[in-house]
């Protein structure tokens, strides 16, 4: 659903980080920041929480691990045991390499999938850019426009003061 945003464009990442800090200090909420590359220090400036992706990895890898080990045990011990060189049916140690591989595979694929889902990235999604060239050499801050709690004048002034090269009001679906 299209909404109104106030978008400030920056040329330098350092000005961007300072602007984010200042805007938040004045009680404005940052909708998002757009950049052609990750800008370090911005996570703290925006107050972003640590990503929970590692939990997805842990759970998926644990499921992969248990599934692979139990399946090998089931197939080699219960379902059809093969006598190969007189080795015991339950050669648990020999099941470790495949268990490890499946755990890594499950962990990796699940994390990548969770990332794409959470970030709304999918083939066919059309990207809406907050400002031109934010995937090339420009940085942008977007503030959600809310009539009741938003003093546009002050926000504009703060953004200009912190070095924004351009401040625009746009209506789109970011």
């Amino acid at each position: 659903m299209p909404r109104e945003y106030l978008v400030a464009t920056f040329v330098e990442p350092d000005a961007l980080v300072n602007a984010v800090t200042m805007i938040r200090a004045h009680g404005f909420k940052i909708y998002d920041v757009y950049a052609p590359c990750p800008v370090h220090g911005l996570d703290e400036a925006m107050g972003l929480r640590r990503s929970r992706l590692p939990y997805v990895t842990l759970c998926a890898a644990a499921v992969g691990l248990v599934a692979a080990m139990s399946f090998q045990f089931y197939a080699a011990v219960f379902d059809w045991s093969l006598n190969v060189g007189g080795k015991p049916d339950n050669s648990t140690l020999a099941f470790v390499p495949i268990t490890f591989e499946i755990a890594v595979l499950a962990g990796g694929l699940a994390t990548a999938a969770a990332f794409l889902l959470r970030s709304g990235l999918c083939p066919g999604v059309t990207a809406t850019l907050a400002a031109p060239r934010v995937t090339d050499d420009r940085f942008a801050i977007a503030l959600r426009w809310r009539t009741n709690v938003f003093d546009t004048g002050e926000a504009r002034r703060l953004l200009h003061d912190s070095g924004a090269s351009e401040v625009r009001q746009i209506v789109c679906d970011l």
Partner: protein, 466 residues
């Protein structure tokens, strides 16, 4: 009192840290232009000549593979004593090549080595193409590759008769497939932001639509970037033990057998070091070629080549140490069969392979102690070729010299590859280089966003006296 505080991009000192790996201090848009230029320009004569050569080699390979599948693998030089020859040598060689790509993309990311940023994309591509080439050999070795799905544990009408989970050959199936899949995911995820950059600079048309689909709607949101960095670290953390497991498992194809020359606990670390070594040799060959072909000297600098040369020196020395350890342990063990194999390697009919291997792998890299050699591009190129030759011979020596004279003297035979086997090896190089040359023409071969930030870099600490 000393106060440590993280530097942000705002700090000029940090900028210097990030940029010193590329020449000059190009503005961000210049970096995009430089990397995207080869994707839009028409290919140069050098690229066309290389591509024609690669396609020819690939055609030779396709012809040979077709012939051997149609006729049966009796057309190879294998016999009942030497059951593994060129096929498995090539398999181990190509898997090993892939390892440098993962080392550069994953392990150096975890170690926060900034010099990887210009070269990681092409090294990852190399990993994928090398693993594809490697996978081809066990497939054609099966003789009836259309039955390759038998190696998967699927419910079948024969019992179900499951695969033998205790066999290292089956571990290989899982290790290779996992490795290929995770490498592909890592590679593709790494390219999403670059596809978005290319999408937004392309004028409307087919290219823009393709980049649009590939970029999955990426719009540069920092919330996504933040998650993206976590994802990169997780994938790197997974790929690191994975890559070590892959060549360890490959080495167990040999080490778990009781054949003298194979049955040794040294194999896993020895194989992993050798893999990284050969992989760096190949990365060096490819990057020296591509920086010239694609005019990317500014991004793939002498300093990158110097850093890679140092890794080659380290891993080459580990490989040399392993050769010495193997010989010493054979002597120390007092096992006459073990001793005979190692003595036979150095003095037997395949001694020329052994000594060429020692010269290429253990002795040649020692010249890299010299800074002059490390800064001499032609010398590095020649050395990288020697490393490739030496590491291929290493696998040949391990496989063939151990098999051709084992316990039973009445079974002792020689193995000579046929033209079909040689043609298949040439074909695998053709496949590899065809894929790689297409890659540098069609995809951003330098990670644009990583070069822009040195994103992998830890915020450096400065000491401020308060």
């Amino acid at each position: 009192m000393r106060v440590y505080e993280p530097l942000t991009l705002a700090d000029p000192a940090r900028r210097f840290q990030l940029r010193r790996w590329i020449e000059g201090d190009p503005p961000l848009s210049q970096i995009t232009d430089d990397v995207a230029r080869p994707l839009n320009a028409s290919p140069g004569k050098g690229w066309c000549a290389c591509f024609a050569a690669a396609l020819t080699a690939l055609a030779v390979g396709i012809g040979c593979v077709w012939y051997q599948i149609a006729t049966g693998i009796g057309v190879w030089g294998l016999n009942k004593t030497v059951g593994w020859g060129f096929d498995i040598t090539n398999f181990v060689f190509w898997v090993g090549i892939g390892h440098a790509g993962t080392l550069i993309s994953a392990i150096l990311l975890l170690l926060r080595q900034q010099w990887r940023t210009s070269i990681n994309r092409s090294a990852e591509a190399m990993t994928i193409f090398a693993v594809m080439c490697a996978g081809m050999f066990p497939l054609i070795h099966m003789g009836r590759p259309w039955l390759a799905f038998y190696v998967l544990p699927y419910p079948n009408s024969r019992g179900p008769l499951w695969v033998n989970f205790r066999s290292p050959l089956l571990w290989d199936v899982f290790a290779l497939n996992t490795y290929l899949t995770i490498s592909l995911v890592f590679w593709y995820v790494g390219m999403i932001p670059d596809f978005a950059t290319l999408r937004d600079r392309a004028s409307a048309g087919v290219k823009k639509s393709i980049y649009g689909i590939l970029s999955l709607g990426w719009n540069g949101s920092h919330r996504t970037w933040s998650r993206y960095e976590t994802l990169s670290m997780i994938l790197a953390g997974l790929a690191t033990p994975l890559v070590i497991s892959v060549h360890s498992i490959v080495s167990m194809d040999f080490a778990t057998s009781i054949l003298p020359g194979w049955h040794t606990t040294l194999f896993p670390p020895y194989f992993v070091a050798g893999a990284v070594y050969s992989g760096f040799g190949m990365v060096m060959t490819l990057l020296i070629l591509t920086r010239t072909l694609m005019h990317l000297e500014r991004y793939i600098t002498h300093r990158h080549l110097d850093a890679m040369a140092k890794v080659m020196l380290l891993t080459g020395s580990i490989v040399g140490l392993s050769y010495g350890t193997e010989l010493y342990v054979a002597w120390l063990s007092g096992n006459p069969y073990e001793q005979a194999v190692f003595y036979g390697r150095a003095t037997g009919p395949y001694a020329w392979c052994f000594w060429t291997m020692v010269a290429c792998n253990a002795l040649a890299p020692q010249v890299l102690w010299s800074r002059r050699v490390r800064s001499h591009i032609s010398a590095l190129f020649v050395l990288s070729i020697l490393v490739n030759v030496g590491m291929w011979l290493e696998r040949f020596v391990i496989i063939v010299t151990s098999l051709h004279r084992s316990y039973l003297p009445s079974s002792w035979v020689m193995y000579r590859p046929t033209m079909i086997e040689v043609g298949t090896l040439i074909g695998s190089f053709g496949l590899f280089f065809t894929c790689f040359l297409l890659f540098i023409r069609l995809l951003p071969m330098i990670a644009i966003w990583e070069v822009k930030t040195g994103a992998s870099a830890e915020p450096h600490e400065v000491v401020r006296h308060a």
